[in-house]
């Protein structure tokens, strides 16, 4: 079973601040197969973006630091690579799409030039071919090549995000990390961008790590889902299992918190309390202070991931077989 493109093992990333050190990512395990889209879901401060930056080796240091773990990409541990090797990986084999298309493009450079730049950096091909490639990329994302010499401010938000996607795809990467790529966009524009991403992922067979807080977006585009809470993945399964049979109390609560469009619910079932402060994480299961099924052992021990059904992992004592017997 070595079709894993990316495998994260026991990754911990911590930040050191005035008020002490806190772990943003906590013993995280994760994998993405070739051609697969993994939805990476969680609320603010769950460690989603930090993980993404960790994969790119872009965690700002100080205050951030990768404490332990391995990030194995195409069989090699990214954390052991030197700066030069990492630079040639970034943008080439792994590229990133950021949340805000307004700030991730250089305002004083034409969009065509910006795409050319990415290609030039990583590929040794003649200049006129670079231009042809860049133009083709623009057309791939649905922008006429006549707009090659336009500046970012001449594009609308949705169009800019297309340009960003074109840049990300320019070197035909194996993995794209998309950090909330549609959050800043309007619903109808989001629909356009999602359609485009679906199309492109089929066409290029690229793996995508899609960071989002919107389970609706996940349902649209992802194959697998990992639910993050306080720096670790508490549930991982393919989309069908996760959506039809969510197991972790937090995942269940998350689904219940979203107002449904087709059912009339008078009152939403909520998760009580607030997400934990990363600098004061609770002992044991991080979710126990908010959990409706909290048990004694949850307060002391951190539950390990258990494979409840094939390919469906959950970190919760509720699904520990011995516990079930005790009850």
């Amino acid at each position: 079973m070595n079709d894993n493109l990316l495998e994260i093992k026991n990754l911990s990333i911590e930040y050191v601040t005035e008020d002490g050190r806190f772990k943003a990512v906590n013993d995280l395990n994760l994998k993405i197969r070739v051609g697969e889209t993994l939805g990476f879901v969680g609320e603010t401060g769950a460690g989603k973006t930090t993980t993404a930056l960790g994969i790119m080796r872009l965690v700002p240091n100080p205050p951030g630091r990768i404490v332990q773990g391995e990030i194995i990409f195409e069989g090699e541990n990214l954390l052991e690579k030197n700066i030069k090797e990492m630079t040639s990986t970034r943008g080439n084999k792994i590229s990133m799409i950021f949340q805000d298309p307004m700030t991730s493009l250089n305002p004083i450079m034409t969009v065509g030039k910006q795409i050319e730049e990415v290609i030039k950096l990583h590929q040794d091909i003649p200049k006129n071919e670079i231009t042809i490639r860049a133009e083709k990329m623009l057309e791939t994302v649905g922008i006429r090549k006549e707009r090659f010499n336009d500046f970012p401010h001449q594009f609308s938000g949705g169009m800019k995000q297309r340009v960003v996607i074109a840049m990300a795809l320019a070197c035909n990467p194996k993995l794209i990390i998309a950090d909330e790529p549609t959050t800043a966009l309007d619903v109808t524009i989001q629909a356009q961008v999602l359609e485009l991403m679906k199309e492109l992922k089929e066409k290029f067979n690229t793996s995508i790590l899609l960071i989002t807080h919107d389970l609706g977006v996940v349902a649209e585009i992802c194959d697998y889902v990992a639910i993050m809470y306080a720096g670790s993945a508490i549930e991982y399964a393919n989309i069908e299992r996760l959506f039809n049979n969510p197991l972790h109390p937090y995942t269940v609560g998350l689904f219940n918190s979203i107002p449904s469009l087709d059912e009339d619910v008078d009152k939403l079932t909520v998760i009580s309390g607030t997400p934990p402060d990363p600098s004061h994480l609770p002992m044991g299961c991080r979710f126990h202070p908010r959990c409706p099924h909290v048990m004694e052992k949850c307060k002391e021990n951190f539950p390990q991931a258990i494979e409840v059904e094939e390919g469906h992992f959950v970190s919760c004592f509720l699904y520990n077989k011995e516990t079930v017997k005790e009850e």
Partner: protein, 321 residues
């Protein structure tokens, strides 16, 4: 539910920009009944927030009439308006920028009382703050904290407490939950619901998230480029959307369910600029069902079915009256 609390007639709000006249709100009329929640949805720049602010005169409307309890508050002078502000409150989107970072929770909530000195005597202020903090579920120990020490959900509760302390009748909720995490968002939505039942409040809920709007509203108005294109009961909007824009908007919402087969209407292009818009229907450029008349004549918002207002020439033949 037949008492009209607020009636807005031909409200316009234009901004003078360098490129020309920006029609943020362009001839909008609607009613809000006592005790109901009117949802106002649309994409960014459609004028929904400006509408909310214009009816409270936080942005002075360019023209139109806003009747509150049958009185046109646009004719009010400064003193009358100040008295009226107690009844008309607003909760803002961003719980970070809407709270003065230099004030403690106590001062933030009490500020409205300080401003309207006649409302309450000084020694009652503490009691009233305690009361509204209870109402919105804020722990009393936080009363002397500063906003930057609190999380988004608590900050938004302060924003709600601040609006409630003047004992208002009507509250504009301007995207009150869109900056919050999903789990916190649900808590705040439930709170708003409870407060409405308990205090008999009337809401105008402005948001871009249709599922949230649907959950909380009794009736929903859909805005596009400064105009209301459809207004009806919350059930109708989803069961029987009439305007092509509403249909596209609904189909664009990602639904968190697996294996849902949906027909998606993907709209071409972007929302056009609201600066000096051409005559005719605002949706003309992106509409799949556009006709010749749409380019020339701007459709009026009319009753086309029971309690169902639409501004679209497709329904020209149908007339309720």
């Amino acid at each position: 539910m037949s008492d009209v609390l607020m009636e807005v007639k031909n409200l316009k709000k234009y901004f003078n920009t360098k490129q020309g006249m920006l029609h943020a709100v362009d001839d909008v009329s609607f009613k809000i009944f006592k005790g109901e929640t009117l949802g106002l949805v649309g994409e960014s720049g459609c004028g929904k927030s400006t509408t909310g602010r214009a009816i409270l005169r936080l942005h002075e409307p360019t023209s139109g009439e806003v009747y509150f309890n049958s009185e046109n508050i646009l004719n009010y002078n400064k003193t009358q308006m100040k008295a009226m502000r107690k009844k008309l409150q607003i909760v803002f989107q961003d719980p970070y920028s809407s709270l003065n970072p230099r004030l403690s929770v106590y001062d933030l909530i009490a500020d409205s009382l300080y401003v309207n000195k006649d409302v309450v005597s000084k020694n009652e202020i503490g009691e009233q703050i305690s009361y509204v903090m209870d109402l919105v579920g804020l722990e009393k120990r936080l009363v002397n904290s500063f906003p930057h020490e609190l999380d988004g959900g608590r900050r938004q509760r302060i924003g709600i407490a601040r609006a409630l302390i003047l004992n208002p009748e009507f509250i504009v909720l301007d995207e009150p939950v869109s900056a919050l995490d999903v789990s916190i968002q649900a808590q705040v939505l439930n709170l708003l619901d409870e407060l409405q039942n308990e205090l008999g409040l009337t809401y105008m809920f402005v948001a871009h998230n249709l599922s949230v709007v649907k959950h909380i509203s009794d009736r929903i108005a859909v805005m596009y480029l400064g105009k209301i294109v459809e207004l009806t009961d919350y059930k109708n909007i989803f069961a029987d959307p009439l305007h092509p824009y509403t249909q596209a908007l609904l189909s664009a919402i990602p639904i968190p369910k697996y294996g849902l087969e949906r027909k998606r209407i993907v709209l071409e292009g972007d929302v056009p600029s609201p600066i000096n818009p051409p005559p005719g229907c605002v949706f003309y450029g992106r509409c799949r069902e556009r006709m010749d008349i749409c380019k020339e004549v701007s459709p009026k918002l009319d009753v086309k079915k029971e309690n169902h207002f639409v501004a679209c020439h497709l329904y020209n033949g149908i007339d309720q009256n």
